[in-house]
Structures are given as C-alpha cells and as structure tokens.
C-alpha cells in the first residue's frame, strides 16, 4: 500500500523543510518537498501539506506577508477548504495567519497577527524550550488527535510569535469558534501565567490556533525539532527530560512526533 503523500512547501528562505519531511517520513508518511513556484498541481495531489519554519522572503515587510500573496497559497487554501490537513510551523504559521486561513472566522480575511514578542524588559528574537498542552476541544484536529493530555515540551525560536486578535476579542469568542489549538503551560501542565512559560506574551497563552474545521493548525513551536528522543536536551525538566536521561535508545519518537503520528493515523498510514 502506498503511503499518503504530504507536501512540504519550500519558500525562498524556508530552512526547516528537510527535518519536517524527515519527521513526516518517520511517522509513516510520504513527504515531498515542493518549491513554492513548482505549480499548484503537485500540491493538490497530496493528502496534506505543511508550511515549514524559516524566514520566507527574508521576513521582508513582516514575517509571512509576502509568501501569503504567492499564487501557491491559492492551492493551499483550496486544500484547506476541502478539509485536508494543513499545518504551519513558526514562519509557516505566520504565512497561514497572513493568508487568512486561520483563525478563518470569515474565510480569507486576515483576522489575527503574529506580532513582535512582547516581554517586559526585553524584545526581539528568543529561542528555547516551552511546554504546551492541547486545548480543550482541539483533539478534533487531525494534527492533535493523538497528542498526549499533559505538557508537551517543544522548542521555539522566533521574534514575532505573539498571537493577537482585534481589540476586545474575548477568550469565550475564541473558544466558541474552536480557535485554541495549543496553549503554553508550565511543566506540570498548569496554565502559563506569563514569561517564561509563555515565552512571547501571546494572547491567552496561545501557542497554536485552529480554523473552525480543525484541519488547519498554525503553531509557533517546532514539533519537527522534537520528533526524536535524541533531540530532547538531557537537562530538560519534566517527564520527557527524565525519559531522555534514562533511555538507552534515542532513535525513538520524541514529544513532537505526536503531531505527525496523529496525521498518519488520520490518513490511514502505519508507522
């Protein structure tokens, strides 16, 4: 049986396409890296697609803004409209936001921003590890269905990762539309109450948001950089750090693999 195909779209300046493809392959999927100008038909034939991290078009104007205007995004939008899974990681998330594919309350309209990090006393680029948990109701997403219930450690690296919505937008508004996907939390899974658990000042501690259908997920942390246990730092706290220190085998799935394994199950692939 052939493995379901997943397109990994490479824009000029993308830099995580290979590890993203590797994480998808490790989950039992067939990943194809497709350049942004190779034609929509290649993407349309795939079962899902991923917009990987990086700095598309050098983050010119603002992160994700130029890539969002590229013709290839029409094919991505068509894929999303047909209910097929679409994932944007970091810069890919910025592209999805600038494309109006998430939160997708009024489809096609830009209704959110991934704004500059806003942390008291510091600004600009920040990288490290954060803990996230799946928001209530978000396991309807093909990307999150098999993610564990507790805190999941994932690396992040960005300067513009703060989810922001129009002034006055309430958490109830987001919840009623199924928008929260992943939330920053503390190591024990309890809510993040600010920095450092919420590393960028994101509204409502959002680390990832979904469209109403749940098939499109835009997330700032990098699951592909935690897809194998060897990628987890031994010094990391929590159960995954303990597992990393104790394990004799490191070439086994890490905390980020859950998203790709969820997709594989959704698409009927065995790992």
């Amino acid at each position: 049986m052939s493995r379901p195909g997943v397109a990994v779209i490479q824009f000029p300046g993308s830099n995580c396409e290979r590890e993203t493809a590797r994480a998808l392959e490790s989950a039992g999927l067939s990943a194809t890296i497709i350049r942004w100008n190779e034609g929509a038909r290649l993407i349309s034939s795939c079962h899902a697609c991923v917009l990987p991290g990086g700095f598309s078009f050098q983050d010119r104007i603002r992160a994700g803004a130029v890539a969002a205007k590229e013709p290839v995004m029409e094919a991505v939008a068509a894929m999303a409209d047909s209910g097929r899974p679409v994932l944007g990681i970091c810069n890919g998330a910025q592209i999805l936001v600038e494309s109006g594919l998430v939160p997708g309350w009024a489809p096609g309209s830009v209704e959110a921003a991934l704004a500059a990090n806003d942390i008291p006393g510091r600004s600009g680029y920040l990288s490290g590890w954060a803990f996230v948990r799946v928001a209530e109701g978000a396991s309807r997403s093909p990307w999150l269905a098999e993610a564990p219930g507790g805190a999941i450690p994932l690396p992040f690296a960005h300067a513009e990762g703060r989810f922001e919505f129009a002034q006055g937008t309430s958490l109830d508004h987001l919840i009623s539309r199924g928008t929260p996907g992943l939330l920053y939390c503390r190591r024990d899974g309890s809510p993040a109450l600010g920095f450092p658990a919420n590393p960028n000042g994101s509204s409502f501690s959002l680390a990832g948001i979904l469209n109403p259908g749940g098939n499109v997920l835009a997330m700032m942390p990098h699951p592909e950089r935690a897809a194998m246990l060897w990628q987890v730092p031994p010094a990391l706290g929590g159960s995954w750090g303990g597992l990393r220190r104790a394990s004799r085998r490191l070439d086994v799935p890490g905390p980020g693999a859950a998203l790709f394994l969820s997709l594989a199950t959704f698409l009927g692939a065995g790992s």
Partner: protein, 175 residues
C-alpha cells in the same frame, strides 16, 4: 514640546521595497504604484529639538549607520530622489503595541538624552503616474496599505499595526 521626525533609508536600492513592489504588481496590479520606497521613520519627542536628534543619531549607529544609510527630516515637497513626474502618497505604518519604541526609549535614556517619547514607524512612499490623478493615487495607496485578505493589501497587518495614508507628508531636508 518638540517632535522631530527623522526618515532613514538605505543609500543603495532597498530590497524590501523591491520585494513589496513585486508582490503588489502580482497581487494587486490595479493598485500597484510605479515606484515604491521605504524609510525607518523615527519620531522623537524631546526638548532639544533637531540638534539633540542629530546627537542621538551620531551616538547610535544601530539607528543610523552613515556607511550605508542616509537621513532626512521630512518637511514640504518631494523627498530626495523622488521623480516630480509622479504623484506621491505616504503610508505610515506603526505597531499598535509600540514595544520596539519603548525599548529604544530606555536605551537612549540610559545614554543621558532627555527623551519624552519615541515612536518607530515605517514610512512607505508610493509614486503613481500623474495621469492617475491624486484622488485615485490616494485611493490606490489605501488599498495597498492594509492586508485585509490574501489578495488585498500588503503593507500592514490590520490587527497588530495601524496605517495612515496621506499625501501631506512630502519633502525633506537632507542631513
């Protein structure tokens, strides 16, 4: 109170402006200008006026690197290098949170400058053929100013940024 605005641009052609022009020509050909340039627009509120701004610029090459950038104080008329045969429109984009400006305020304040306020904006200058007319040029620039959808607007995000379109800001005296 003295508010001084300093517009800073690359001496060489600006790749960001080039990318923006290319993106607009593909996504919004009807609203795309013929020429487009971009400036970092620093708005200082300080008692010392322009002389103190010059001292700040001389002190911080991260704001103005004289090897690769040049600075103007926008007044009336065209900005240097702008063709008089085009109708020019300004689009000023600012972050709603203003976190970058507040960080720079602290840095400049620690260096001993008396600064009451600081805003960092992006100034886009869009030049349309004169035949378009000033009213249509303003309208077209407005269409590019806010990214409302995948196919409409580019220069600012409607949630995290604000954009001001005007034909008023023009002209400059070179530093």
């Amino acid at each position: 109170m003295a508010v001084v605005r300093a517009a800073i641009r690359l001496k060489s052609s600006d790749p960001v402006a080039g990318t923006a022009l290319r993106a607009l020509s593909r996504a919004m050909p009807d609203s795309c200008p013929e020429a487009l340039s971009r400036y970092d627009l620093w708005e200082f509120d300080l008692p010392g006026g322009r002389e103190e701004v010059l001292a700040i610029l001389a002190r911080f090459p991260d704001i103005l690197n004289p090897n690769k950038q040049e600075c103007f104080f926008p007044e009336e008329g065209l900005l240097p290098g702008e063709s008089p045969s085009l109708t020019w429109v300004s689009v000023e984009v600012s972050e709603r949170s203003g976190s970058t400006g507040s960080t720079w305020s602290q840095v400049i304040g620690r260096a001993g400058f008396e600064l009451r306020g600081l805003r960092l904006l992006t100034l886009w200058r869009l030049g349309y053929p004169s035949a378009v007319g000033s009213a249509r040029a303003l309208e077209a620039a407005g269409e590019t100013a806010v990214s409302v959808s995948r196919n409409r607007g580019l220069l600012s995000n409607p949630v995290s940024q604000s954009a001001e379109v005007s034909a008023a800001l023009s002209g400059a005296r070179s530093l």
